[in-house]
Symmetry: C2
Subunit: 698 residues, 2 copies
């Protein structure tokens, strides 16, 4: 029996802890019994049972031949939990859910380690400690302190027990049902990655929602999320975006949050969908469980009122859907059927006189042409909304296409809601929220289609696979410490990277010779281990146009500390400046960045990130995401740049991170991009310090 | 009696139209009577009254000496409305609310004009046609087809009747009460600006909310919005942001929507607050009516659960609030009072064991140091949320400081809601939404403080005043058509603008001479009336460094069509490129833009807009808003630019628009900004065509 089976489909459940009035053990037994699960045994020193639940003083006292206890739910004082686990493990219990708090989150990580060691000796797996329990509605299993939620297709996994509880309490009102719920608290043993893996296979779950503050292992999370997202939608709320958010996360869980931008990029790479908060999560769950796939981006809005339709159309366009006008043929058909004062553009306004038939027939008609529809209805006290909802429901059924509804608002719209729910048409508080969900569905369909297309090419499979499980042999950097810039350039060139033409000179006369050799304007840069930011100290001189100037420049650079000579490169005009870089994230390890380079890097923060390495397709996507992307196509009469060459650089830099694990940071900024290719013009490489590698490496 | 008084506090109301079962006249009378207003008279040919309401066949038949009818609500067929207005006008009715549709919105603008003409002959003012009626809860006055809303401090004005109705229906559930409601439909007579002016003075209204699709007159709207926002919060939902949104607006109201970015800038200038949709509008209304001013940006979050607090803290930081950690003193006091497992950072986590006293005492303590607090509570079925809400309410009362609450979620939190509402503590669905509102309150406090500070300086008064009511004498441009670039530069220089040094040459040898005179690299630009985009056709040559090259350049430019010679300017290196421009908005007239210049203009869309003219303070604010702002402070070792000089250019360009109303578009791009000042390096000026000025001008 797998741990997932023991956890979610136990034959018998033991509740360990006092079952006196007001005690947690009592609440757990009540929840189990009221939820319809009766194979329960109470374990407590007093052998106190309630409501016919039999009790034993320890697992060892369970009668031979009794139904095996697969799952123990533990709510005893913190100091006793190790013994409980030993006892349960010896008796063959397979999973323990530990509600008890007072471990790592309260500053006692050693106590938590003892739990894990005790359990692992017996092959006992743990949820928690410091958690709010679990739920499997399909097994009538509710060993939790929280509201028993309605049954449905969503599995919800929450690092925070309280937030999990809020979601369960809100579910009925939000019209979302759950298959499973897991609060995993400190995640001492089983954690985020394990649940993602288990839920991927779970046939009772069609959508997985996850609330996390920190992740246990960035790369493993990325892999598990991608595997899950390939077969069902994964919706993630990740808190701790801001500084103060991170601080709270820090104090809350005792571990460091990854930088939010990297997390965001990793989620996008995995195909998961990020929700900003609980309301958006509910909206997405409703949409993904109730609607068929949105196989395109053309949205029709059918309404009985202009105002809310315009708000929805606005949101649709900013969310990536297209509210295109109907074709002439469709428009003619609509004109034939509707009164002349109705608007037959898109939004299609049936006006306040809209009938059930209007909604049904118009929706059926437009869905012949559009990929999805939003049915908007603003009700007044003197209109009955239920028949209109029927019309919408009939159209959804007849076409099999995605139809979202927003019947507004308050009391007058209330009659419509059960009609829509019964027909499987999701209703949203506003049209804006409905289109946001439709856009997310369309986005997921696009991602799945792209992933499929990428699998077609063998070459892509290989590189996509290496993205997740890099089999790149690890090599050593050729220096002890951090290299000087010309050394790093030399090394990159040896590896086949396109580095700018250059002379590394140690004397003024060599500088003059170099200037003469290049025969055009040159740039001069100080080379020194002691200068960190060259430009801040005047360590870069541009537009040097004669050997004499070069001599003067050399002397000036020497004066400000160019101890290791001067690097001379030709000036590039009209090249597009791009940054490609590597950094090391504490959660995900090497991260590749592509951005608008030069001064734009600092001011515009025009940057695209991924966990490294990336495939060519992904590298190309990163480049395409930049605001500065049009510059590469040529502006002001310049020819387009060689984007293929740039893509190559991105792919290969991203693999560098895994070939050379000692690289902590690599900045290629700027890379000059032109019609003729790329030229890396500035290199900064920092390696992990060898003395305290343990400390520095992720 | 003002129209506003007659509309909102009529002595007697006439309902004009059939009162048979199911007819609109019947609904209106029912609504009036059920709402508690009994001075009603029915006007219809059959003299049909109901429920004791007396009836006459026309206004002329009203008995002499009867209570005067100040307000008529008209629901007769479209063709009859003119006669009704004539009749009502003759009888001394002061305002008519026309529910009847079928005018401009249905393609009959002439019919609508006839209404206005008929009414104005008698000094009768109109609301509508094609509207949903009005409400004044403080006068028990509900002549509307929509849900009668709860009474409160918010006045809501809606261009869309249906959307207005949705808001009224939702109000009870959202916990927002209304003083007044106006649906003004086509706005044939009284419209947005009139209501803003009237509500500014209305003592029963503390917050004004407005839903608009199009505005009647941009400048008048801006002035009225600013006047209102100076005395009470103005919350605006404006739809029609996107292309399809605008299209729907267009078909809906028969008038053209202004570009959304300009509208957004104008709203910011006026001090109004833009809401993205109805839910946000409700949130803001709840916050602004229930909370005192937020006089700073330091927010304390007091919670019983980490997860939702982190989500709220994240949102706070992105909304401009600061979730700073407590001072050492406060932290010590918190540590003394709370259990060791509570988090005394910020968010302050009282954990699930939080009591009423914990919430009260901790909130009182932190509000000594912070400007506002968010009290978060996540409830479970086994906790009673009402006492905890009491603790929050007591702290709000004791401190008088802004305290917002988010008690979550569903059934377990329901007991808390009436406690909070009774104590005047606004509750929000999520902590994120609560902080968004607190941030808006803080933003408004900042704006009011800034406006006050600006009023202190006499000089600023003058220029701020000129922003709203420009007394700039209008002058003529010195050319018939559009000027050539060197002509426009000459003209700007005459007006005192800093224009780049230049030579306008007509022959190759003049080009060589110019190159020699400048003695450094030059730029050469084709001058021609027929070339629209110089760079696209190779009409700009940069980095020309010798007289020979200049001769070659001249010939090349001549060959591609430089019919009017070549403009030669020195090359600027290391200058920051800025764009300053004027354009003409259909709603607001002249608009001033400042942006990152050169290639950044096209790719980064880093632009700040205002309705012209602007004061120095406002011009400076525009510059400070740019993402590229840090460039002006000097990067890569360059000295900071002369931002004062740039501010001057912005102010003076913005006034140019009013001095020379013939300017349709002016692009100064780039302006080279350096330590030494500004140099306008490229000018493009388009005037309104003189043939069809009527058509082109706003």
């Amino acid at each position: 029996m797998s741990w997932a089976n023991a956890l979610f489909r136990p034959r018998c459940v033991a509740v360990v802890g006092s079952v006196s009035e007001g005690k947690i053990g009592r609440v757990l037994i009540d929840q189990l019994l009221h939820g319809g699960f009766s194979d329960v045994v109470a374990v407590n020193p007093k052998r106190q049972g309630i409501d016919g639940v039999r009790a034993v003083s320890s697992f060892g006292d369970l009668p031979v031949g009794s139904r095996p206890v697969d799952l123990a739910v533990v709510a005893t004082p913190a100091a006793t939990v190790v013994d409980v686990l030993e006892d349960a493990g010896r008796a063959g219990v397979q999973v323990a859910v530990i509600i008890t708090a007072g471990f790592a989150e309260a500053g006692h990580p050693a106590a938590e380690d003892r739990l894990v060691r005790a359990a692992s000796q017996h092959g006992l797996r743990l949820i928690g400690p410091n958690c709010a329990g679990i739920v499997n509605t399909k097994w009538n299993l509710f060993p939790t302190l929280e509201t028993r939620p309605p049954s449905g297709d969503v599995a919800f996994v929450s690092q925070s027990g309280a937030l999990g509880g809020a979601v369960l309490s809100w579910a009925e009102e939000q019209g979302v049902g759950f298959s499973k719920f897991v609060s995993y608290g400190n995640g001492a043993d089983l954690t985020d990655v394990d649940f993602l893996e288990a839920l991927r296979e779970d046939e009772e779950t069609r959508v997985v929602a996850l609330y996390i503050e920190t992740i246990s292992d960035g790369r493993a999370f990325l892999r598990a999320a991608a595997d899950l997202a390939a077969v069902k939608p994964l919706i993630v709320i990740k808190s701790g975006r801001s500084d103060s958010g991170s601080r709270a996360t820090l104090s809350h869980t005792g571990s460091m949050a990854g930088a939010d931008a990297v997390f965001d990029a990793a989620l996008r790479q995995s195909g998961a969908i990020r929700a900003a908060g609980i309301e958006e999560m509910f909206d997405l769950c409703r949409g993904f469980t109730m609607l068929p796939a949105v196989e395109g981006r053309r949205l029709a809005i059918v309404t009985n009122s202009g105002g809310p339709a315009v708000l929805a159309a606005d949101r649709a366009e900013t969310s990536g859907l297209r509210v295109d006008p109907p074709t002439d043929g469709l428009r003619d058909r609509l004109k034939d059927r509707l009164e002349p004062f109705c608007s037959t553009g898109n939004p299609i306004d049936l006006t306040v006189q809209a009938t059930k038939d209007d909604y049904r027939d118009v929706l059926i008609d437009v869905l012949d042409e559009y990929d999805a529809a939003l049915a908007l209805n603003v009700n007044t006290p003197y209109l009955d909304s239920a028949p209109l909802a029927c019309g919408v429901a009939e159209a959804a059924r007849a076409t099999g296409k995605p139809v979202a509804a927003s019947f507004m608002a308050g009391v007058p719209a209330r009659a419509a809601l059960p009609v829509l729910r019964a027909a499987g048409v999701p209703n949203f508080a506003t049209g804006e929220r409905a289109v946001q969900v439709l856009a997310a569905l369309a986005q997921r369909a696009t991602c799945l289609a792209l992933a499929k297309a990428e699998r077609v090419s063998e070459a892509t499979i290989a590189s996509a696979d290496s993205t997740m499980q890099p089999h790149i042999s690890s090599r050593l950097l050729p220096w002890e410490g951090n290299p000087l810039e010309p050394e790093a350039m030399e090394w990159l060139e040896t590896l086949g990277f396109p580095v700018i033409e250059r002379r590394w000179v140690r004397a003024a006369d060599e500088a003059a010779t170099a200037a003469r050799t290049f025969g055009r304007s040159i740039a001069m840069k100080a080379v020194s281990r002691s200068i960190l930011h060259k430009t801040d100290v005047g360590g870069v001189i541009l537009d040097v146009s004669s050997p004499d100037e070069a001599i003067g420049g050399f002397e000036r650079l020497r004066a400000i500390g160019a101890d290791d000579g001067v690097l001379i490169t030709p000036m590039f005009r009209h090249a597009v400046e791009i940054l490609v870089g590597l950094s090391t994230d504490l959660q995900f390890g090497p991260v590749i960045a592509v951005g608008s380079g030069g001064i734009l890097t600092e001011t515009m923060r025009d940057l695209s990130l991924r966990v490294a390495p990336v495939s060519r397709t992904e590298a190309r996507r990163m480049i395409d995401e930049l605001h500065g992307r049009p510059l590469l196509d040529g502006t002001r009469g310049l020819p387009p740049c060689d984007v293929d060459a740039l893509t190559d650089v991105v792919v290969r830099v991203s693999r560098l991170a895994l070939e050379y694990p000692d690289i902590r940071e690599l900045d290629l900024n700027p890379i000059f991009c032109t019609e003729g290719g790329c030229a890396i013009a500035d290199v900064r490489l920092l390696r992990f310090s060898q003395d305290n590698q343990e400390e520095d490496s992720p």
